[in-house]
Structures are given as structure tokens and as C-alpha cells.
């Protein structure tokens, strides 16, 4: 029994007692079940397992602290009406916003933050990390840390452009279909059905094998694959609005389709559309990451997270974590966006699960 183990259990049990004393039922349940779990873990995994749990708990607490502080910061700096809404955000959502904010900073100021250029060869292949190279060198001797920073710009930027295109095409088609109805509506619906009946990754592979892998091809192909989803949602949301009386009134006033879409339908469907944009971004981001992992996305020497994982994958067989960092960066951003979208969906639908 080391000091660490004794301290670990004392801290856990003391914390659960405190939670029980102050009537925090949930916290108590969590802490106490963790204590019980730790007994099992401690027997199986020994001290390292307990150390691992401590580190995880510490990280979680840190993340929670940061997101709470970030939320308070946002509440302070934003307008009163916005601040009121932000106050209701759960910790997960503010964590998501914090992560997105960090990525945006990293992407925008990449040349300032990164110590080296993205395709600058500065050392030998797979150089170990030292004080100059935070994460070591990659397979060509480029600085992995700088490439990850630049990756925030390239990977996220490409996904963002593709999502926007998909969204504009899909939303426009959906709104037009809802307003016009008839054959146009049917045609668009059928086209969407056909595109959606091919798995997205397979469709992307087919199109990229034919059209090559230039950036514009990727953007257009991804937009074609994902716009049907946006179309479906927009069509459904707008379909509910088109039957309202005020739309009828606007039509009787003699307003055109474009006015109906812009002034009557769009303002009433922004909330679900924004949430859908977030979700769509996650799908697109994961698809593009998968494509670049397969060597069909952003081409070298441009830094990109998906291809970085593939290029440095050999390091994993030596037990090195570095190749996982770009993959983890992809996962973290997707999780963050999902957290924020979850909150927005919850707010916009007023959906209170029973």
C-alpha cells in the first residue's frame, strides 16, 4: 500500500461522505460507485490503473473548470439577450464552444502559432521530441506540432467549405421544393432518394476515382453526397411552414417565391437549420477525414489530419502515441460540435424528454 493508494481511497470516500451529507444524491452515487469500481480496478490493474483513473478524473475536472469559466466569460462579454440564453447552456455545450473557439484561433492564426512551416523539412525522419520539436518529426522530418496547427486550417477549412456548399444547394432546393410543390418537388425528392441509397463513403470513392483528387472535386463531390440530407430536412421544416396562414396571406398579396423564401420561411426555420448545419459539418468532416486517411483527400505536402495519421501510422507499432494526436483532434472537434448541436436542438425544439 503506497501513500498514493491510501490517499486515493481516503479522498474518494471523504468526497462521497461529503456529497451524502450535503444531499447531493447524484454526486454521491457517482463517487461511491467509483469507489466500488476502484476496488475491482485496483485488484486487477494495481496502482497504474488507479493512477490512470486519477489522471482521467483530473482531466475531466480541468475540462469542466475551463468550460465553466469560458461560459461565464461568454456571458460577460455578450449582449444581455444572448447572455440570458448562454446562461442556460450545460457544461458539455460550453466545453464544445470552448473547443470550437480554440480550433478557430489555431486555424486563423496558424502561421503565427506554428514554429515551422507546414512543409518545411527541418530534421531527420521520425526525430524524437525535444524542446525545439514539441512532438518530434514525421516521416520526412517535418515538425508534427506545426503540421497539426496548420491542419486545423486545412482540414477544418475544407470541411467547412464543403458543408456550406452542400447546405446552400440542399437548403435552396428544399425551400424551392416546398414553395413550388408539384413535379419539381417530386423530381427533387427522387434525386435525393437515389443519392442517399448509395453509402456515402462508397459514392465518394467512386467519384474520386473517376474525377481525380483535386480540392474542388472533393468539395463538389462531398456537397453532392450530403445535400440530399439537408434537402430532406429543409423540405420537411419548410413544408410545415408553407401551410401556415401568413404564407397564404403573403401569396394573396402577390409576393413572389423568392420573397416567400427569404422573408417568410427562412426566419421561421433558422433554429433547426443551424442545428442541421452543425450535424452536417460533423458528417462531412468525418467523411473527408476518412478520405484523406485513405490517401484520397487533401494531397501532400499540405498538412491534413487524416493523411497525417496514415503517414505516421508505423510509429504506433513502437507504442508511440503521436500519430493518434491528429486523429484525436478530429474526434475532439466532432464531439465538440455535437455537444453544441445537442444543446441547440434541445433549446429549439423545447423537447423535454419524459
Amino acid at each position: 500500500m503506497s501513500i498514493f493508494v491510501i490517499g486515493y481511497y481516503v479522498a474518494l470516500i471523504a468526497a462521497s461522505c461529503l456529497a451524502a451529507y450535503f444531499g447531493q444524491r447524484r454526486l454521491f452515487l457517482l463517487l461511491f460507485s467509483m469507489t466500488l469500481l476502484s476496488f475491482v480496478l485496483g485488484i486487477i490493474g494495481g496502482v497504474p490503473a488507479l493512477r490512470f483513473v486519477t489522471i482521467c478524473a483530473g482531466l475531466l475536472a480541468l475540462a469542466a473548470g475551463v468550460s465553466y469559466a469560458f461560459k461565464e466569460f461568454l456571458v460577460q462579454v455578450s449582449r444581455p439577450s444572448l447572455a440570458k440564453e448562454l446562461r442556460t447552456a450545460p457544461l458539455t455545450a460550453s466545453f464544445g464552444m470552448f473547443v470550437i473557439f480554440t480550433y478557430a484561433i489555431a486555424g486563423i492564426f496558424a502561421p503565427v502559432i506554428a514554429p515551422y512551416g507546414e512543409s518545411e523539412v527541418i530534421t531527420q525522419a521520425f526525430a524524437p521530441p525535444d524542446e525545439n520539436l514539441l512532438l518530434g518529426g514525421d516521416q520526412l522530418g517535418r515538425d508534427i506540432f506545426s503540421r497539426i496547427i496548420y491542419g486545423a486550417r486545412n482540414s477544418v477549412g475544407l470541411a467547412l467549405v464543403a458543408t456550406m456548399l452542400a447546405f446552400i444547394v440542399g437548403a435552396l432546393a428544399g425551400l424551392l421544393a416546398a414553395v413550388k410543390g408539384g413535379w419539381f418537388d417530386n423530381l427533387m425528392g427522387r434525386i435525393a432518394d437515389v443519392i442517399m441509397s448509395v453509402p456515402s463513403l462508397i459514392f465518394a470513392l467512386l467519384m474520386l476515382s473517376i474525377l481525380g483528387t483535386s480540392l474542388w472535386v472533393i468539395v463538389v463531390v462531398v456537397a453532392v453526397i450530403y445535400s440530399p440530407r439537408v434537402f430532406r430536412l429543409t423540405r420537411a421544416v419548410a413544408g410545415n411552414i408553407v401551410v401556415m396562414d401568413y404564407i397564404e396571406a403573403a401569396k394573396l398579396r402577390g409576393e413572389g417565391d423568392w420573397h416567400l423564401i427569404r422573408k417568410e420561411i427562412l426566419p421561421n426555420s433558422t433554429a433547426p437549420l443551424i442545428a442541421e448545419f452543425g450535424l452536417e459539418f460533423c458528417f462531412v468532416f468525418l467523411l473527408i477525414a476518412g478520405l484523406s486517411f485513405l490517401g484520397l483527400g487533401i494531397q501532400p505536402p499540405t498538412a491534413d489530419w487524416g493523411s497525417m495519421v496514415r503517414e505516421n501510422a508505423t510509429l504506433i507499432s513502437f507504442g508511440d502515441v503521436t500519430p493518434l494526436i491528429p486523429a484525436g483532434a478530429i474526434a475532439l472537434l466532432t464531439v465538440a460540435v455535437n455537444f453544441v448541436v445537442d444543446w441547440m436542438l434541445f433549446r429549439s425544439s423545447g423537447l423535454k424528454e419524459v
Binding site: V194, S197, P199, S200, F293, L294, G306
Partner: protein
């Protein structure tokens, strides 16, 4: 019963039409190539004669529509033509790999489906508790991670650091079944993680949706024990959404399998497809895409049919 059969047949017919349209899409997408296949495969530096020779070999002098029906006829009988790169028959290259891919997907499904349904029902019953919150965050994380991230994390911790499972899922003919399961455990586990998370969330949503309906409240109010409420009242109506969830997620496996096969160097169709795409071996790309799309459509169809069979209300559309 007769009109149930009619409804199912109608769905099958629609699926067939979808498959036909997709085959048209897959075939004619290749026609989008600048120039034609022969030019694209041989490159700019090829002489006019070699291009002409390849054109003749592929029968490109015939109109596209004739070639499409040729190709479709071949595809129906399992003949997808000849690989442009190796000269091997595509059907031969695919058949073994297809069995491997099916095995991997089935392995993952057998593990994932019971776990996901059990956990999904569990978190639905414990909804809004701390366990539900934790499960929500965990499943969201698992869904949001790219498959290759999960795969490499598993390789790093279970294969390299703990050396419990092999990192590369190479198969040989003379393995026992148990050995096979051990070899392919990591790729299967990666798929299980992703699919379980999806299925759990969807099952949870379906069950919660159901538990808020009035007849469940009635059963509860008349003093029925919670276990009985679930088994006797909720479950018979929950089958439809659950079958739907399972089929949809099996369809999702089809896409996931491509990335996982590449990560674990597993000899399946996904790996073949990715190789063929980088070599621009169009007959193989087309065949693989058609197989994947067909499986995808079939599973979606299964979801539809399953829903119709388990939900009497859908049998009598208004």
C-alpha cells in the same frame, strides 16, 4: 395476409428499382471521364495504337447503352469483367474477399446487437440519471470518432502495449475457428464500438418515445410491476423500432468496414476497393461499389419490411 404479401412485394419492387438506378449511376459515372477509360488508364503519354488496342479489348467502340446492358447482365450472373491492372477476373478477386468482409461484419453484428439493445433499454429505463448522462457523453464520443482513430487506439493499447491481440488481421486457410476469432477481434471490436453507440442511442430514443405513450402510463397507474410493464406492454411495440435500428446500423457497418479493413490490413472488399481506386482499376471499383450499394439497399429494405411486419398499423395505409 394477402395484402401483407402485396405490401412487402411492393417494397421489394421499389428496392429493385433503386438498385437498377444505382447501377446506372455507377456505370455511367465512369463515362464522365475526360476522354474514355482507355485514355485515362494509359495516361497522356500512351501512343494512339495502344489506346486503340485497349479500346478494342474493352469493347469501347460499342455505344455506352449496349455496354451497360452487357455489364448488368454479367453482374447479375456474377461476372464483372476483367481487372484492368492485373488481368484477373474481377469475380475471382472479389469472391473470397467478400466472404471475409461478410464474416467481419457478421462477427461485429453478433457482438454489437445484443449489447446495444440491452444497454439501450437500460439507459432508457435509467433516463436522466447520472448513468444516462455518462452513457450519452460516451456514445457521442464514440460516434464522433473516425473509425481509424478507434482502430489505432485499440492497436496501441491492446496489441502493442498489452500484446493481447494481433495488430494485423491477416488470414490464412489453415486456421481454427477460434484462432480466426482471435485474429479478427480488434477490427470487429472497432466496428462494435461505433455501431453499438449508434444503436444504443437509437434504441434509447425509441424506447423513451414509447414509454411516454398513454397506455404505458395506464399500465403503470394500475399498479403493474415495472418489469412487467416493459416485457408485456412496451416490448411488443418496441420490436418495430428496434428491428429498424438494427437493420439501419448493419447498413452503416458497410461503410465503416472500408476504413477498418484498411487500418487492420484485413483482406476484404473494402481494402480491394481502396486499392482499385488509387490504381484507377474501374471494373473492380464498379463491382465493389455495386456490391456495397446492393447490400446497403438490401438492409434498408429489410428495415422497411421488418417494420411493416411488426407494426400492424402500417399494413393498412390510409
Amino acid at each position: 395476409m394477402g395484402d401483407l404479401l402485396g405490401l412487402v412485394l411492393k417494397r421489394l419492387g421499389l428496392g429493385l428499382v433503386a438498385l437498377l438506378v444505382v447501377s446506372v449511376l455507377i456505370f455511367f459515372a465512369v463515362e464522365l471521364l475526360p476522354g474514355d477509360i482507355a485514355q485515362a488508364v494509359l495516361g497522356q503519354s500512351a501512343t494512339e495504337e495502344t489506346v486503340q488496342a485497349l479500346r478494342e479489348r474493352l469493347g469501347l467502340d460499342r455505344p455506352a447503352i449496349v455496354r451497360y446492358f452487357d455489364w448488368l447482365g454479367g453482374a447479375v450472373t456474377g461476372d464483372f469483367g476483367v481487372s484492368l491492372v492485373s488481368g484477373e477476373r474481377v469475380s475471382e478477386a472479389i469472391s473470397d474477399r467478400f466472404v471475409n468482409t461478410l464474416f467481419l461484419a457478421a462477427y461485429a453484428a453478433v457482438l454489437a446487437v445484443p449489447i446495444a439493445i440491452f444497454l439501450g433499454i437500460l439507459v432508457a429505463l435509467l433516463r436522466n440519471s447520472i448513468f444516462d448522462r455518462v452513457a450519452n457523453v460516451l456514445t457521442l464520443t464514440s460516434i464522433s470518432s473516425p473509425e481509424f482513430f478507434l482502430g489505432y487506439v485499440l492497436i496501441l493499447y491492446l496489441a502493442v502495449r498489452a500484446s493481447m491481440f494481433p495488430a494485423i488481421a491477416s488470414l490464412s486457410g489453415d486456421m481454427t475457428f477460434l484462432e480466426l476469432l482471435h485474429r479478427t477481434f480488434l477490427p470487429a471490436l472497432t466496428l462494435v464500438l461505433v455501431v453499438t453507440a449508434h444503436m444504443m442511442r437509437m434504441t434509447r430514443a425509441a424506447i423513451i418515445n414509447l414509454l411516454s405513450s398513454p397506455y404505458i402510463e395506464m399500465a403503470r397507474l394500475k399498479g403493474m410491476p415495472p418489469f412487467k410493464v416493459i416485457v408485456r406492454h412496451a416490448l411488443p411495440n418496441a420490436w418495430a423500432p428496434i428491428i429498424n435500428v438494427v437493420a439501419l446500423n448493419l447498413a452503416y457497418l458497410i461503410t465503416g468496414v472500408v476504413l477498418v479493413e484498411v487500418v487492420f490490413v484485413y483482406p476484404g472488399v473494402g481494402q480491394l476497393l481502396v486499392d482499385a481506386v488509387s490504381k484507377r482499376d474501374f471494373p473492380i471499383v464498379q463491382a465493389c461499389c455495386l456490391i456495397f450499394a446492393a447490400t446497403f439497399i438490401l438492409l434498408n429494405l429489410a428495415a422497411d419490411v421488418g417494420t411493416i411486419l411488426t407494426n400492424p398499423r402500417l399494413r393498412h395505409p390510409k
